[in-house]
């Protein structure tokens, strides 16, 4: 558990953040310059001016009233900044070993988790952005942290690379079970990774809650609409070789078909992503449509987002509302308003496995 109530003078405002977080992953979101990185640095002990109280896993590491201020090296916090910050004079292996204090087993399993074996003798200069991030993650894990602080580890990467790193983050969450604070601007990452979202604005905690609840908040709903993704959690239920599809039962009970993904074993959890503009909406009966996924739904709300309209739709037995992006013309033609009964149609090929 992590509990903090801290203050730090920043250039434009003061950081005054207070929260108690259980284990698991907490996504820290909020507009640029809202103090997210500063908060991580305060927790890691890298900001001298910080005041207040911080407890990590029951140990008080900062309590300025009582004169407690543990230096960073005694906090056991693994910090991974946005650009990885590998030590340029050391190989990948020696970077990973750097903080491990000779704990071979931990180093080996960190290397295994992040699949670094082929990279170990390389210097940071010759590693790609994604490889650097994996080395930095392994280095943080190998130091046996009680808390991971991840500062937008995917932000510097392009979309394709992001999707390759995300599974490593899921492995860290599920296999290492180190509590983590994860700064991100990406709603999809937050939904896929985090148990809760802490929303920071102008240095203060504006909201703290489950990712999908917070998506309803205007500031994040807009980000989601601009960031396009519907993220759906579910489990692989069957593979249909002849039909060329894999079926996934979503956590809410609805079933969707995705392009055949035999490497995902039946029963394994998956996160699916569907772009909001790839969802078709019909009001009448559906016949002769090629889309494999048709879900009955009800329109919850319509919101003008830039040139488009974003609908939030509740599906039968599907907990997270679907975000659907339509043109105002389409909304007018179908006469859509809150409460309308519709069907959502999605081609298998519009569904990606994250």
């Amino acid at each position: 558990m992590i509990a903090f109530a801290v203050e730090l003078r920043l250039a434009r405002f003061d950081l005054r953040a207070e929260a108690r977080l259980e284990g698991g992953v907490t996504a820290i979101m909020g507009p640029s310059g809202s103090g997210k990185t500063s908060l991580l640095e305060v927790l890691a002990g890298l900001r001298r001016g910080a005041r207040g109280r911080v407890a990590i896993g029951g140990e008080v590491v900062l309590d300025t009233e009582r004169g407690v201020r543990l230096p960073p090296e005694r906090r056991r916090v693994g910090y991974v900044p946005q650009d990885a910050a590998l030590l340029p004079h050391l190989t990948a292996l020696r970077n990973v070993r750097f903080g491990a204090r000779g704990d071979r087993a931990r180093v080996d399993s960190a290397i295994e988790t992040l699949e670094l074996a082929p990279l170990l003798e390389r210097y940071p200069l010759s590693l790609s952005g994604g490889e650097k991030q994996r080395v930095a993650l392994a280095r943080a894990l190998a130091s046996d942290p009680r808390l991971l602080l991840l500062d937008e580890p995917l932000a510097a990467l392009d979309v394709a690379l992001r999707e390759r790193i995300l599974p490593y983050l899921l492995r860290i969450r599920d296999e290492w079970r180190v509590p983590a604070l994860y700064v991100t601007h990406n709603v999809g990452e937050a939904v896929a990774l985090a148990d809760r979202v802490l929303l920071l604005r102008d240095g203060a905690v504006e909201a703290l809650g489950a990712p999908l609840d917070l998506l309803a908040m205007p500031v994040l709903a807009e980000a989601a609409a601009a960031g396009i993704e519907n993220l759906l959690q579910g489990r692989v239920s069957s593979h249909d070789e002849a039909g060329g599809v894999t079926r996934v039962v979503l956590d809410g009970g609805a079933e969707v078909a995705i392009p055949l993904a035999r490497e995902r074993l039946v029963g394994t959890p998956v996160v699916l992503a569907v772009r909001a503009e790839d969802v078709l909406v019909t009001t009448g009966a559906i016949a002769g449509l090629s889309a494999r996924n048709v879900l009955p739904a009800r329109v919850l709300s319509l919101e003008r987002t830039g040139p488009d309209v974003t609908l939030r739709c509740a599906t039968d037995g599907g907990t997270p509302p679907w975000l659907v992006r339509l043109t105002p013309a389409a909304v007018a033609a179908l006469g859509l308003r809150p409460g309308a009964t519709v069907s959502l149609a999605v081609k298998s090929h519009s569904v990606r496995v994250v």
Binding site: G45, P72, P81, L87, F98, Y123, L125
Partner: protein, 226 residues
């Protein structure tokens, strides 16, 4: 070519320059680190004082040293009571070259320290390094090339030091005479051939110093560029 005694004189000059650079290394590095990290009041004043020997006429520095170290000077009295005599001995040569070359070492090392990303040091701290360990495992390995370059500059400066040395140590053949002093001496007495021979020696020395520094830093950096 070289006269009797000139070889000893050249060796003496090299020894003084090497010893002076070695003695400057730790305090120079410490001063550089301080200037690179310190953000408090008086920073500019300290910087200026440390750089003064670079801009003052060496003879002016020499006079100041002489005043301080002479038998009735501030430090001279103190050292005299301890039975230590500095002025017009090899120790004065050493001191003069050290004072004159110190700022070069500091400037170069300081730039190198300033180029080390402080976040890397922060990361090292979160990975369990105390301040001293973080310095030796991160800051120093990333800055050593600049410190080496500064040392070579300082060594070369020490080899060529003239003005301060002549004021505080004199130009006593066989005792305090160094290469540049000997070149001047030979020129004054009309022995251009010997002066030129010594000029040749200084060129070779400077060349070897710069080149070997280049080689060392090239070899060590080869792997990072690979």
């Amino acid at each position: 070519m070289l006269a009797a005694g000139d070889v000893e004189m050249v060796l003496f000059t090299i020894q003084i320059a090497l010893l002076g650079t070695a003695l400057n290394l730790v305090p120079g590095t410490a001063a550089a680190l301080f200037l690179a990290r310190y953000r408090g009041p008086g920073k500019e004043a300290i910087e200026t004082v440390l750089s003064l020997p670079l801009v003052l006429p060496p003879t002016a520095v020499g006079i100041l040293l002489l005043r301080a170290l002479a038998r009735r000077g501030l430090l001279g009295t103190l050292l005299g009571d301890l039975g230590i005599e500095i002025v017009f001995t090899w120790k004065a040569v050493l001191l003069a070259t050290m004072v004159m070359s110190f700022p070069l070492l500091v400037r170069s090392a300081r730039t190198a320290f300033e180029e080390v990303d402080p976040r890397l040091v922060g990361i090292a701290r979160t990975l369990g390094c105390g301040p001293a360990r973080a310095f030796f495992r991160v800051t120093l390995p990333l800055a050593w090339r600049g410190i080496l370059a500064g040392s070579v500059l300082a060594f070369s400066r020490a080899l060529g030091e003239f003005g301060a040395t002549v004021m505080v140590a004199g130009n006593i053949p066989g005792r305090t005479q160094t290469l540049p002093l000997a070149i001047f001496h030979y020129d004054q007495i009309g022995r251009d051939d010997r002066a030129l021979a010594l000029v040749g020696v200084t060129v070779v020395l400077a060349f070897v110093a710069l080149w070997s520094a280049e080689l060392v830093s090239r070899r060590r950096s080869g792997r990072t560029a690979a």
